[in-house]
Symmetry: C2
Subunit: 339 residues, 2 copies
């Protein structure tokens, strides 16, 4: 089949483009090294709402609406919204979708959700099933912390391997390939399998997700016949400092050296030492704001030409952890290129 290459990769022959993006983050992310690349930095992470869940949903709503407005089309032109978040029952995405009113597919892949959304959106556009789609995800430190860990008021001590859930939302408008290729295009999609190497520590997500990242990156390179240096940057979602190191080492064993062009969104979004963010950021807002902020702007400017974005998700629940299960991981890759 011409649209498939290797065992897990789709080639998007029409090269759907990313026509606009919007990123919105909380104050802590706005104090990090990527500040200048975000469209909006909130001064107050409640965004004027009376709960953190509603704050998160309002941020996702803003990202989607602003992303559409930027490109200058009406929202009735958007055929689908692919969106998700970390909250139980995708509360943020569902309530944002209620306000936005675009036909909606809710998706969940923990922190891998951003590239899941990009993959599905790009396939729908490439196949001619949509003229325009929005792919968007969000997360919020305070809503995630109390759902997955402890009430904030409890003030629990953080582990050295912990990561800090990013407060932010990112949205991407994908459309048919564009005149003069002035926009970055999604050229390949490599969909991951669930990988589980038996990590059981929910404070060490990087180690739980690294095997999935390694598997998806290795398969993408093998499927496409590309070498790591084909990409200006291979970007993982939110493995953090520890998971990034593991991924580099494990890929070396597969014969791939990515150390010179490897970037992890989680590791780079904060000044980890000064901002007390442990191994780095996490949450499906992390790759969303770095992808739709930093990476997209670098791609538009021409500083980057070829990026492999691999968001990674840890597929645990507090129930599965209490029942003694280990933490499965998954990673989906999309190749974004200026052509």
């Amino acid at each position: 089949m011409a649209k498939r290459k290797g065992i897990q990769t789709i080639v998007l022959e029409s090269k759907p483009c990313i026509l606009s993006t919007t990123s919105i983050v909380g104050p802590k992310e706005g104090n990090g090294p990527l500040r200048e690349f975000f469209d909006l930095v909130l001064e107050d992470d409640t965004n004027g709402m009376n709960s953190f869940e509603k704050a998160e949903s309002s941020m996702l709503n803003f990202a989607v609406s602003d992303c559409i407005n930027k490109y200058g089309i009406g929202k009735e032109s958007i055929n689908y919204l692919f969106a998700g978040d970390l909250l139980n029952q995708l509360t943020s995405a569902n309530f944002a979708a209620r306000q936005i009113g675009i036909p909606f597919y809710g998706i969940y892949g923990a922190c891998s959700t951003f590239t899941e959304a990009l993959s599905l959106g790009a396939v729908f556009v490439d196949g001619g099933y949509a003229d325009y789609v929005i792919s968007a995800t969000s997360s919020h430190f305070s809503s995630a912390e109390r759902q997955f860990r402890f009430p904030l008021e409890f003030g629990n001590q953080r582990s050295t391997t912990s990561q800090w859930t990013v407060t932010g939302a990112g949205a991407v408008l994908i459309g048919k390939s564009n005149e003069n290729y002035k926009f970055p295009c999604i050229t390949h999609v490599t969909t991951g399998k669930v990988k589980d190497y038996g990590v059981t520590d929910p404070n060490n997500m990087g180690a739980a997700m690294a095997p999935a990242a390694v598997d998806t990156i290795a398969i993408h390179l093998s499927d496409t016949g590309r070498k790591p240096e084909y990409y200006d940057l291979i970007v993982t979602g939110d493995l953090g400092r520890l998971g990034r190191g593991l991924t580099e080492d494990l890929l070396l064993k597969h014969g791939y050296n990515i150390k010179d062009n490897y970037f992890d969104c989680g590791e780079q979004i904060y000044y980890n030492q000064e901002q007390n963010t442990g191994c780095g950021g996490s949450g499906c807002g992390c790759s969303a704001v770095v992808g739709s902020g930093y990476l997209y702007k670098k791609l538009m400017k021409g500083d980057l030409k070829r990026v492999l974005l691999v968001a990674t998700g840890a597929l645990l629940s507090s129930t599965s952890t209490m029942q003694g299960e280990s933490i499965p991981g998954i990673a989906h890759a999309v190749a974004i290129e200026r052509i």
Copy 2:
């Protein structure tokens, strides 16, 4: 765009087929009126596992594996698994996907997830992005009850408008259109928007979901130019007795009379009076087992030729309900036809 019709409908020109299905249910569903249509009825709803969550995941795993085996291909031929369930972070689907080892997209649309899975799977096959996909969902009374409502041991009184979460899993194998059209085909996909008419009672899901069902059915009929009687059966997922009545009445106001060929999976899966199931069944296992059991077998036999399956989801979480939010609903339709 030829692949789109009207405002929210996709025409699948290659007519992807449903090549096999598997349904597995618990003992209560096995005592209901559709018993003969299920492939496996468990005697014990723990399925030999030490938690209800693991039981649900094992049922989903069985449904997927058995569905692949029935058609006689290896699981390495399956390009994608689209799956989801009701549990937080899609625990059942994630852990089943870990065992199954097929590239995996997790999806969530509450009880609408089954037709979301069918929609995405059919599009991937139609577009040539996959040779074979599995679409599958599950739910379990005991895992859902304690997550969404009360611990089972508490023995709370049920409201008269309550529904009973189906213990079951259904899987569907979708492939390219087949010689002699001996299999039912997915011909159209109509994707829903989130609808919210302000219902706030989490014990009255039928009323919360009915507006979404009405919207999606009316748009499907308008987009395709079909009349209700084109279909042998218009099937909603799990509105129950109350939601079914509301849907009939509201569609009449849109000018569509579906009373003569309308079937609700939730209302029909139990002997509601005798089995004390209130308004009927619910959960994303409900439309999954009725769709992959009853409907598929009727379609294969030729008793039914044209079915519009419209699974409906109530997009609440216990957190959003406690924060005073109303209950948004969504419904996705797929047309399944013998041609």
